[in-house]
Symmetry: C2
Subunit: 559 residues, 2 copies
């Protein structure tokens, strides 16, 4: 039996849960619509020391939300629209819990903001990619992170009662920025004019009623008497436009992982931690058998189908290592298996996806996990060795890495290969595929690879050929490989973790930008900076003074 | 007589200089090419306390470079290519001076990086917009900011002598990022593959010879015996492709400003500082007379032509206030004059620009100044009152502001109007015009304005109409205006300067991104964060330990 969040207070954080274990949310599905009701239990924070008043939230609340959003996609394909509604009267949410933030370490705060934003991106991905639309039913106070959750929805409905307002009070009240992408979603998603956004974000009490509508902060308003009816109508309308998805949902059972002091063991993934070297080694298993031949076979495999299982395990491991193993700065990725079988699974899902929602959801999920890897503040190295299966969707992991090293042994070639999934189904957060960003300087060479793969003759590479083709960083023979890798890891582990975080975030996303990459790259960087500054976290900083009688004392120098 | 940089040590920093007063650079013009020779004087730092060894640089060095780049465009239109060469043997540059950085305040460091990057953007603007191409002749050690300067050039030539390398050693040696856009220029401008960039940026000794060429870090290499010849050939070739520009250059005389304790007084601009309110009020004068009728008349006006003079004064004031008045957090913009005359000057320069390089340079310069304003970490409010002339290029200033307030007095309408310059000649750093970012949510309304302006019927607006059209934030009548503005300023001045900086940087650039905006928005934010972290600036941080025997002691937690 797993422990409840409260019992885990000083335990490693777990990211697995199920609706029957939710403390803070209820998921009600009825026909083509669902209600996701948040009714945060004040007395059930993830760690002791703060009270979750007024639907304010902490990581524990958001882990349940992320679980619900994920389950809606796999277990409730019939749901075309989801209303996020509050279980509290006249309060949608007061946002992220300030006392939790004020008492958290810098790295926890940063990772908390990253995770909550990933959850909101998952909502947007459900709207955009799966036609599962979300509506925020703002029945009262909708502040800070509460409004940021609303911003992640397709539609925002606000009660018009003369007092209920949406607000982002972080700048005026706390001296920090909204931490979950709010500013970028205002400007880029909702296209709120920047002077309106400027007033809105500096007005602690927020904006209500008609002005909220005029300024594009919400999509509809209604007096309290007609509020529930409006929400119902809008949700029904959103659901009516949803694409039909056949068949029952696919349940997502617990992963059943085992964790030891220095390892996380799943079925298809093993993560081993070397604390002295400050590294974690991910070993991912390729498929053992052939892919499902058709939709029926895929459904019979359900959540056990290789790609879904592997990426669920990888997703869980990423989250756990981010939060529970902050000092493990270098992640090494190894794979084991048959590259042709990986490519066969890729091909099967590619083939089924246009007509089968479940196949599509598996690919969309793999894309989200890979994007979570892309924005992970750890050094990522791929180690490509004989017996590995860096093909297709697993090659994406290598392409997501900062460097890839291969052991070049002509007698045991590593057998990298491409699959159709490398050419569009698994895009990075800023838009292009990982191959496109890698071939930015010679798109014509990529076009040749694409054509060959599309024609059913995917190019295969041994280590040397892969380096020549630009897919790997370094190939070394048996004599040099071990030393080369060891020195690279030791060097990396000796560098400033902060400088590496900034460098990796800058080099991983060349070229294009998107709202998503602007949030992670630009907004988060500003927020990280502000979170460190004495004006926020110093003895007289705004974040420290919040809730106390004294006013913050600022160093007025602008940078 | 103005003071030398050294004598100014504890004085406000001045940004005006002339080639005959350069300490660190020599500008040699010969026919269609120029040599910009940097030979930094060790004993002439901007402030006492550090020695500028090995062509390392400080703000004083960069102010001279910025001046030279600007004069090359206006005073030497015949120059088609510029070689940046070192006056020192086997050293191009060791980069920004570390001891200067380690002894500087956070806000100085951040503004130093911003200014140096703006200078590099000015080089890129000369290459892209004026066909004045730059080549970096890297005759030896080319490290950190030295290589970042090379990255700003169109071409990089490196001596191939078995030891000379280009490098970005900031991450491994100092625990910070390259501070002048180096990472983004690697990935986005030179399209260096990210794993190569990763190795390069973590290798203190850098990359030399053939590998530097293979990895796209440089464009050509040559042994020492053929290095000068190669540089000469390449510069001649770049110059041969330059567009011809008629007529002599236009000298840029000193601005002749007067500064008092609380003011900067120029001819067309007055800046008054209210230290208690922490505001600066910019008063910009519109033109007094008609615009030059033709190229001949424009040349006779030379540097005295209204738009050039005004924007030179504005540029100087922005730089001085950024560095010398860090606590003045709100900048207020007022204009005085005839909006129709502003529009007439805009129209004249628009008309002449396609055939006249000087007219074009004036517009390009106005664009650079406005972009400097866009990335200034101060709150910008426009105050639009009777007698003002917020038309065309001056309306851009209002559009660059975070908010615009207008006094709505039907008897004395404010007379805003558009000009052709609002529709493309003065783009923001991320690509679109200020009007395009403002009308992101209704581009069709902007299209109407564009058509009317293009047809010679530019729309005019009084305060109310301007608010309705979406050009202004708030119009208030005489009874309310003063209170409205006063309260807004007081409220703004009470907020955390850091939170405002992050908020403004996020809201000012909706939608598109460019290399320029990625540098200012993403890379700079990461750098600011890292600059604050104990791992860099703590007692045992890498920046503090540099040059000392002990190794830095890092907090290994990744965020």
């Amino acid at each position: 039996m797993q422990r409840s969040p409260v019992e885990q207070a000083s335990q490693p954080i777990s990211f697995e849960t199920t609706p029957d274990r939710y403390r803070h949310w209820r998921l009600e599905v009825e026909g083509g619509t669902a209600r996701l009701i948040w009714d945060v239990r004040e007395d059930r924070p993830l760690r002791p020391g703060y009270v979750l008043k007024l639907n304010s939230y902490d990581l524990g609340v958001d882990i349940e939300l992320a679980d619900a959003v994920q389950r809606l996609r796999f277990e409730h394909p019939e749901v075309g629209a989801v209303a996020i509604v509050s279980g509290k009267e006249r309060v949608f949410s007061a946002g992220a819990n300030i006392h939790m933030l004020a008492s958290s370490s810098h790295s926890f705060k940063v990772n908390f903001c990253k995770f909550t934003n990933e959850t909101r991106l998952a909502i947007e991905d459900a709207c955009a990619a799966s036609g599962q639309r979300y509506l925020a039913a703002c029945n009262g106070v909708t502040a800070g992170g509460g409004y940021e959750l609303a911003l992640a929805c397709d539609e925002i409905v606000l009660v018009d009662d003369g007092s209920s307002a949406v607000s982002l009070p972080e700048v005026p009240l706390l001296g920090v920025l909204p931490g979950t992408g709010g500013l970028t979603r205002l400007s880029d998603k909702r296209r709120v004019r920047r002077d309106h956004a400027d007033i809105f974000c500096t007005t602690a009490e927020g904006v209500k009623g008609q002005r909220a509508l005029d300024w594009r902060l919400v999509d509809a308003i209604a007096p309290r008497s007609r509020f529930d009816g409006l929400v119902e109508d809008r949700v029904a309308q959103l659901a009516a436009g949803a694409p039909g998805k056949d068949g029952p949902g696919v349940p997502l059972p617990p992963l059943g992982s085992k964790s030891g002091e220095n390892e996380l063991a799943y079925t298809l993934l093993h993560v081993g931690i070397d604390r002295r070297a400050r590294t974690a080694t991910f070993r991912l298993q390729g498929p053992k058998g052939k892919p499902p031949a058709d939709t029926g076979a895929l459904r019979r495999e359900g959540s056990g189908t290789w790609m879904l299982r592997l990426f669920r395990e990888l997703d869980d491991a990423i989250c756990r290592l981010r939060f529970n193993e902050e000092e493990i700065g270098v992640w090494l990725f190894r794979t084991e298996g048959d590259p042709d079988l990986v490519a066969a699974h890729d091909a099967a899902l590619s083939r089924l996806a246009p007509s089968d929602w479940f196949a599509r959801e598996v690919l969309l999920f793999a894309g989200r996990v890979l994007r979570r890897l892309d924005v992970t503040a750890r050094t990522l190295f791929a180690l490509i060795e004989p017996g590995s299966c860096f093909a297709g969707c697993l090659l994406e992991i290598s392409l997501a890495c900062d460097r890839a090293y291969a052991l070049d042994d002509p007698g045991r070639p590593v057998g990298l290969r491409l699959s159709p999934l490398n050419f569009g189904a698994l895009p990075m957060g800023h838009g292009p595929t990982r191959l496109q960003t890698r071939f930015l300087h010679r798109p014509e060479a990529l076009e040749v690879l694409r054509k060959r793969t599309g024609a059913g003759e995917p190019p295969r590479f041994d280590a040397k050929a892969a380096v020549e083709a630009g897919l790997l960083t370094i190939a070394a023979d048996e004599i040099d490989y071990e030393d080369e890798v060891r020195v690279a890891i030791e060097e990396r582990s000796s560098l400033s973790p902060d400088a590496l975080t900034g460098m990796e975030a800058s080099l991983r996303f060349p070229g294009a930008e998107s709202m998503e990459s602007k949030i992670f790259g630009r907004l988060s960087a500003w927020q990280n900076w502000i979170f460190q500054r004495p004006n926020a976290v110093g003895e007289h900083g705004a974040l420290k003074c919040y809730g106390r009688p004294e006013r913050p004392a600022f160093d007025w120098r602008r940078t």
